[in-house]
């Protein structure tokens, strides 16, 4: 893999040197559970990353109440595609239903 912008593979991993834009700490702004489960690897609160912004998800589903909590929790665990383009969300079977519901409730709380 050719690495751009001062990136260098070290011992099978990629390290980063000065030059890239410096930003937030991983997990910052997320609920503790969302941070622990590394949701920010693919999502951010307001910006489009690999997956939709959390606030966009909240806007779409927040009026559905508890049903939305359950549906989002299942989506977090099972993954799947269709609502936000063709890139599927990976399944996260190791996330417990309890954690998934907690993350879903936090996402829905972001609705304006």
């Amino acid at each position: 893999m050719k690495c751009a912008r001062g990136l260098l593979l070290v011992a099978g991993l990629v390290t980063l040197h000065a030059g890239a834009a410096i930003g937030a700490t991983p997990g910052e702004g997320l609920s503790p559970t969302a941070a622990r489960q590394h949701c920010d690897e693919c999502h951010a609160i307001d910006e489009l990353r690999i997956g939709p912004p959390f606030r966009a998800v909240a806007s779409r589903y927040s009026l559905e109440g508890d049903a939305a909590v359950e549906r989002l929790a299942r989506k977090i665990i099972n993954g799947g595609a269709g609502n936000w383009g063709s890139v599927p969300m990976v399944g996260n079977e190791r996330v417990s239903l309890e954690d998934a519901r907690s993350i879903a409730r936090w996402i829905l709380s972001l609705a304006h």
């Binding site: 593979l9 011992a11 991993l13 980063l16 991983p26």
Partner: protein, 578 residues
Amino acid sequence: MGKHLALLLALIFPAVLPAATHGKVVDLNGVPVSEAMVILTKSPDVPGPTATTVFTDAQGAFAFGADAPRGTLHVRRLGYRPVAGDVPAGDPTAGDPAAGGPAGGQPPLTLLVRPEADQSGVAPASAYLKDMTNESSRERLIMACVACHQLPAPEVRDYARLLDDTPQTQTPATREAAWSAIVKQMNYVSNVEFGRAGHKVPSGENVYSGGDPAPTAALLVEGLQGPLREVRNYSYGAPLLVTPRTRIREYEVPAPNAIREAVPYEGTAFLYAADVSSNRLIRIDTASGAIKDFPVPGTDLWGPHTLVPGRDGIWASPFFPGAVMRFDPHAGQWKLWRLVQDTAGPPLGIHDMSFDADHDLATDKRGRIWFSDIVGNAIGWFDPRSGKSGHFRIPPVAGREGNEQVYGLSMSPDRRHVWYCQLGIASFGSFNVETLAFETHVEFPSPDAGPRRLSISDDGILYIALYGAGQLAAYDTRAGRMIGVYDLPDRASAPYATTWDPVRRVVWIATSNADAIYRFDPRTSGFAVLPLPRERGFLRMLHVDRRSGALVTSYGNIVEHVRGPRMALLIDPGDDPT
């Protein structure tokens, strides 16, 4: 003696348990199954290795030693599945009629298996790449992905199944877009992990700035076709080297940790494992499994990364910043040397330190330790007596400039040269530590061959593991000629390191993607396979304990995000080493 007291004593002193767990592995027709792994996972409340594995003989028989702890048995063999679940083993009352147990030790166990063409769950990740016919693509895919984790790991296979099941991802273009997303995620994870070395992580539009994901995504589309639910017709590719005396002992280290490599020191009563994520060396008592931590001094260090046993302790290097450390196992203390660095330049990335044919730390005749600097693409030296250090940049290789990644390093038997390889550009060479000049330089034809870690035999033969190509290169450093480049039994095995075995006069090859160790015999140019009892057995370094002939290695699933076992391994191949 009352029953309860006997039971209590048996729990406290499991070594006095009479008669070992033994039995047979047969199929449903009663036919013995040979070369099956029987894995004894100990109960959490008793001391000992986390798991001990033995292999069945031609009659399907297996036996554990008298010191085998109480636990459960599981059978694992390519092409078979256990008929029932795990079987309890090691009844503590067995052999003690006074305690109400059966006389004459434990009765033999019969473990049933049935043949099954689907090898998923038993075959290694590399099995899923066996039908990848384009050699160059396979090499590039392994170099890109197996650099950090097995491919296809179970999560990757799950994602392939998701793509196969999802109506929106049925075209090549949507598949590629979906794999691109995963590559971006991996690049981000890498950035976060190495952000802990003192650099911050990019955000916003740069969050996935690990490089263009498209080339790797295209390789994933090419290499991972179908739902990957099953894998069939995988074979190890060479005879197994196991015997009924083979013992694989695995020692789990409590989370969180990221064991990178493990070494023996003066015999195998203790193993020492480098935990690269929590900055400590972990000592494992091989009899009891008891663990003791030895934190690395210095809050700014990230490591330890590489371990090399020496006559005066275990030498270690952290990733960053440039430092060399020595651990005294007797005193339980560290000594640390900070290396002087160019203030304007990047931090030193000390990767490997010079070792000899016994895999012990080797200095040159002036007492200098030599190392590879993966960040500066340089060969460096360090004098522990004066604390002085320096480095020599490796000349650029025409047509392969950039991303050199100088990696493995070893010292020649005459201590006049260090030999190094460059993982990123598929080259290796020598540096004369007396004249301070670069001498030999050799390139492999494929730029993705991936020479990773190397070792030199006492007669000057350099053995190089070719990670991408799945080959072993043997180069005669005295005659200056390539003896041969040998295909490994599994070309997708991602060989991480070679280790010259001065006891047996063979080469051991630790693989990252095949859950196996290979043995190469230079006398016959033949390979043999030692399969490991666990999925995601991502190996890195392997050491041979000179006293016992035992092999010591570890599942080096480093960084939190990479799932898989974090264990040190102590292996008796079950041969007659001399």
